[in-house]
């Protein structure tokens, strides 16, 4: 359980976090997303008190860390595992020794340390590099050792700052399985900072979007994905690139109901004629189907009728254009050459 209220953090004059309210329930996975520089890492660092909040309060498992000191602060921190954005491995220790470090500091017996280290190395697929030094590891390998180390003390809360950013899809999936396993079997509360929306859809229960130090949107993943035109919703389930539709009229469709019959497309074809699937991302997320499609329909069809027919099967529809790259972000670079 992590409860954050009114959290503000400033560096000099600039606020980096500005009145954050966020609650992550026990055995929940919360994802925090948002543009680069939004304050996500700072948020994580405030939770384990690596940064002292300028104002506001944070309680983790019922304890207000800012009020603790000395031994009780250390005990509280041992309950919080942290995966750092840049693995932060000790350069003079091997992979195995890096994982062992927190256990040694906690005073675990040698045999116990050895067996846990071996287990963790195996979980992150790094047994074969146990005795390599960080400088001899690839970026992703380092990151996996960082993940293993964060689990060394069997924390009840895990802060994962872009743990899977540098990992290939298979390794990512393995890590995500590990995290969901921790949540489901051990009730670990997990805060995941990530830019990978499939990770959010894949494992998060709730999601919050941070921008310029504020939470601009938050909610359960299933809700957010199916809520209307919100930017977070579009970000979470992005519309794949679609070709131009020729003489058809493009429509953007979005699953809005929990119970959308998978056969809706066949049924809608019978009422509206051929449905040209230009782009589609349909999948199961959190036990319900979610989806976003760009389709082409006969341009002569009545707009209202189209909307009604699709609403009847559980989809929201809006007329295009829908080429994704027209929606440039504020930070976009121009496509011209470097001058």
């Amino acid at each position: 359980m992590i409860e954050i209220s009114g959290l503000t953090k400033t560096y000099g004059p600039t606020p980096v976090l500005d009145g954050i309210d966020l609650t992550v329930g026990d055995a929940q996975i919360a994802a925090v997303v948002g543009p680069s520089g939004a304050g996500k890492s700072t948020l994580a660092r405030c939770i384990n008190l690596l940064e002292r909040p300028t104002s506001g309060s944070i309680t983790v498992a019922g304890q207000d860390l800012a009020g603790l000191s000395g031994g009780s602060l250390r005990r509280a921190r041992r309950q919080i595992g942290t995966v750092f954005q840049s693995a932060n491995l000790l350069r003079r220790l091997t992979a195995a020794q890096n994982i062992a470090l927190p256990m040694r500091h906690q005073g675990l017996r040698d045999a116990e340390v050895r067996s846990r280290v071996a287990d963790l190395l195996e979980r992150v697929g790094m047994l074969h590099r146990a005795n390599h030094y960080p400088s001899q590891l690839s970026g992703g390998q380092r990151q996996r050792i960082g993940i293993a180390r964060s689990l060394a003390l069997q924390p009840s809360v895990l802060l994962s700052d872009e743990a899977t950013s540098g990992l290939d899809p298979d390794a990512t999936r393995a890590i995500l399985d590990l995290l969901t396993g921790l949540r489901d079997d051990l009730g670990v509360t997990i805060l995941v900072i990530t830019h990978e929306m499939d990770v959010v859809r894949g494992i998060a229960d709730v999601v919050a979007q941070l921008d310029h130090g504020r939470i601009v949107e938050q909610g359960s993943v299933a809700d957010v994905v199916r809520r209307s035109d919100s930017p977070l919703s579009r970000a979470l389930l992005p519309m794949p690139a679609a070709p131009v539709a020729g003489d058809l009229r493009t429509w953007e469709l979005r699953y809005t109901e929990d119970e959308v019959s998978p056969a809706w497309l066949s049924r809608v074809s019978r009422e509206l004629g051929d449905v040209a699937v230009l782009a589609a991302l349909v999948e199961e997320s959190g036990g319900v189907p979610v989806g976003r499609l760009t389709v082409g329909l006969d341009p002569l069809l009545d707009e209202r009728r189209v909307t009604q027919v699709l609403a009847a099967v559980g989809l929201a529809a809006e007329p295009g254009p829908a080429r994704v790259d027209d929606a440039r972000p504020a930070t976009a670079g121009r496509t011209e050459s470097a001058a």
């Binding site: 384990n48 690596l50 602060l73 250390r74 005990r75 509280a76 921190r77 041992r78 919080i80 942290t82 750092f84 840049s86 932060n88 000790l90 350069r91 003079r92 220790l93 470090l101 927190p102 040694r104 500091h105 906690q106 030094y133 960080p134 400088s135 001899q136 180390r149 060394a152 003390l153």
Partner: protein
């Protein structure tokens, strides 16, 4: 100026070998003390500084001040200033034992700074790892700061060791002996060229060997 009175080459050994033993013993004991006390002192200076683990202005300024004392005075003056302490501890102000205290004081002050400098190079993020995993301050200092600074510390140790050989030559003035002193006394004051040459050769070989081993150790520790 070749001396007519130079010790015959055959007899040089008789002076040199015991002097070498004295140097090794003196510098060895002093370095043990220096590392044991100067290391922690340096850690403390760094960690009470604004960049450290537990910044504390008053403590930082005072211990930094104390550490500077040991480096402020010319070694000969320091030796004289410390005589009362030496006398109290060893009951003598002369010889091998008496040299150990002033050499240690100067060495501790020097090594404290070298330690501070080495530890300062440890990336802050690695200290954060210790904090985030609930390590004690002592564990962070020992297990993270010192361990990560190891190559720098070994390089500093090497530097310090060589400086102590220099100091042992000055400490020779109170009868502690040693190769450096032999060089100063026989070589420099008495113009005994044979002893001088022999001492220089031994000193150069010694420093060379120390630096070589130090460099190797540093490289071996750098991953």
């Amino acid at each position: 100026m070749t001396s007519l009175l130079a010790t015959p080459w055959a007899d040089v050994d008789d002076l040199l070998v015991p002097a070498l033993g004295e140097t090794v013993r003196m510098v060895g004991i002093v370095m043990a003390i220096v590392v044991l006390l100067g290391g922690p002192l340096g850690l403390l200076i760094f960690n009470t500084s604004p960049l450290g683990l537990t910044p504390h202005r008053a403590v930082h300024v005072s211990i930094s001040w104390v550490a500077n004392l040991g480096r402020s005075l010319p070694f000969l003056v320091l030796m004289a200033a410390i005589i009362p302490v030496t006398k109290l501890v060893f009951g003598t102000t002369i010889g091998f034992k008496a040299a150990i205290i002033p050499m240690s004081v100067a060495g501790i002050a020097f090594f404290a700074r070298l330690t501070e400098n080495a530890v300062r190079e440890v990336p802050r993020e690695l200290v954060d790892v210790g904090l985030a995993t609930g390590a004690t301050r002592w564990q962070i200092m020992r297990g993270i700061q010192l361990r990560e600074a190891l190559p720098g510390l070994v390089a500093g140790f090497t530097l310090n060791l060589v400086a102590m050989i220099e100091y042992s030559a000055i400490a020779g003035a109170i009868g502690s002996g040693g190769v450096g002193y032999l060089a100063v006394n026989y070589g420099y004051r008495r113009f005994d060229d044979h002893i001088m040459i022999a001492c220089i050769v031994v000193l150069i070989a010694m420093v060379q060997a120390i630096q070589f081993s130090g460099d190797r150790a540093v490289r071996a520790l750098t991953h």
